[in-house]
Assembly symmetry: C2
Homo-oligomer: 434 residues x 2
Amino acid sequence: MAKLITTRTRIADLGKPRVIIIGGGFAGLQVAKGLRGAKAQVVLFDRYNHHTFQPLLYQVATSGLETSSIVFPFRKRFANQSDFYFRMGEVISIKPEENYIETSIGGVKYDYLVLAHGATTNYYGMADVEQHAIPMKTIVDAIKLRNTIIRNFETALLTDDPEMMNSLMDFVIVGGGPTGVELAGALSELKQHVFPKDYPELELSHMDIHLVEAGPRLLNGMSKQASEKALEYLQQMGVKVHLNCTVKSYDGYEVLFNTGEKLISRTLVWAAGVKAHPIEGLKTDCISKSGRIRVDEFNKVIGYENIFAIGDAALMEGDSAYPAGHPMMAPPAIQQGRVLARNLKRLIRKKEMVPFRYFDKGTMATIGRNRAVVDLGKFRFQGFFAWYVWMLVHLLYIIGFKNKVFVMFSWLWSYFSYDKSNRLIISRNKEGVS
Amino acid sequence: MAKLITTRTRIADLGKPRVIIIGGGFAGLQVAKGLRGAKAQVVLFDRYNHHTFQPLLYQVATSGLETSSIVFPFRKRFANQSDFYFRMGEVISIKPEENYIETSIGGVKYDYLVLAHGATTNYYGMADVEQHAIPMKTIVDAIKLRNTIIRNFETALLTDDPEMMNSLMDFVIVGGGPTGVELAGALSELKQHVFPKDYPELELSHMDIHLVEAGPRLLNGMSKQASEKALEYLQQMGVKVHLNCTVKSYDGYEVLFNTGEKLISRTLVWAAGVKAHPIEGLKTDCISKSGRIRVDEFNKVIGYENIFAIGDAALMEGDSAYPAGHPMMAPPAIQQGRVLARNLKRLIRKKEMVPFRYFDKGTMATIGRNRAVVDLGKFRFQGFFAWYVWMLVHLLYIIGFKNKVFVMFSWLWSYFSYDKSNRLIISRNKEGVS
């Protein structure tokens, strides 16, 4: 059979400045959108062919939403934008002196390079945890967790050994940020409303949901009020919250904590932190200690004239309100993407760039039905109205009218039926992910 | 780590007759439903945790429908049916003399056994085809085909070698039954309406869709009128139909036909036939030459008193209208399942069983928008109205109100936008399926 070897990305030369964007997450997508109509060729690289709406991954993992409602194909998004090119591939290295990147599908030259390749799960060097835990960064992770939860319950039926049964019915979620809190809440809803009907043969009181946070409070990025309310909600819902607690080791079965305490669980979800994706070829002094790429107030990488970094990948120094950089979340990524698109347009027209200022619109997290916490500057509220606002904001940001309709319908359906209907194991083999 | 070994299916003894159903396809599902309220314990075994609506697999494969709209978790379906037990596992063998089956999760005794384990893809002994072709029997097959189609197009962009490009953009579908015809039509719609927008860099006229049928006409089970119209529709839509043509070999790249002709394609879909799943432990004389299990007019397996077979797995002899057995399709499976449930209830009440009579409600296939063929006894019609009837009937049979709404909305959306929106590659690695 003729082997398939590609060494060229085959991107046409349009005789216009070429802007290459690495990564189609929140940040990269905004740059690409914002460059519509610019006198530039826009090339987007991503290892997937679709954008993923990461804030709702946990709902896919807990059977609440369909996979396809929270992802959106790049080509569909940009079908009507001229001079836009998509390439599915990963970047291997940058050669700044040649204005050139090497990717998994070949090399290509750029005039402007935008690094929006995001962050990856941070296991803090624990290889055993990395091997056995399930992260929560991609759609494949979410489907893997969904398959695992349901397969564990199907297997728990088959044993009368209490330790075996508990290892299958107990879940440990590490990380008390929005992902960990929202996932713990959603699992608790499965325990309360869904699994008792699905598994009348199982004693659901055996199902324990542990949420483990290294710091002294949940939702560290939010107000103290929100943290306390989130803790209260989770405890009302039966989640066992462990504060000031870190994981020392995990072999796929036994979790060891810094306190010396041990837990048995076959499912440990790791939502305890992210770190920058390393990228080869930049000068070492523009990489911060945390691995994020140091940028100036225009998101220009320190020491380069035509390389930019935005979102989780970037560390903007000099914003006095955020001495450690902007939070690695969607809002700064979106805002930086928008401003950078405008600045690239200005650069191309030989105009001066405008500096980026982060506007904190607020933060929110949902714990369960009618239970959410919202911080909007000085306005802090919790409960039903917060939950309603949370849903509205998320619907607003999901791409695609059809996806909005499907997600809204699914939420309404779940609200009135107390059901989460996508309880599916879809995979070819036992260990497979799909 | 404690290893997980289960040797018992742990099915409670209710002191009632136990009916074990193997397989939750159209046939098995009807038996389980029909036994609601019976004085019996109903145990359903399936290797998946969900029913799959197989007639619409091709729409998942061609990005028209979401995965979760055409599958339905068994536990959700039977949550309100008492004395119903579900077990995820595969049957290994039957020991009729002990009224016992051995499964992948342990053994269990039965009072009545219902074999509804369906059929598997028939490669007619061609190991190379089996290795390289994509079948169209399970949801995982459909997702694999979807991933493959889109990944091929992403790769076709990267070459200027015409043979390489054609190998990626050409598709060979083997089998001119409903699956093959419907799949060819849906691929042609992708070519006409979706891919030109997604891939302006590719010359879509290079995309060839070949439909290969061993017999002299398409849709062999339908009227001659339907066959001819289906052929006409497909040809209008640019599908290259090869009649009286069979595949001799396929190495993943080159397809060789009985005519000596060759084609180059990296994607060959095998929808050319099914055969019975073999099952161990039954007397050899109750297995027909085709592998289907010989049953009497009550679907009782020849030579046994408490073992039944229905659907694709069964071959009912003595129905003069169907000397070779009923067609291996949904309608006979559904009808046999319904009648068997009634008969099992009668048996339990020591009443006589009623014989099964197949009522042919008709057959239909859709080729594309506004194009379908329907045979309802002597009424034969094609075109828009047939297409409308096809949609209505399929909506009626999909399980679950939410699924019906989602499928209907997706169809309306596609109809007015000419779009098929789930053009997603969702898999962890290049070769992976998910």
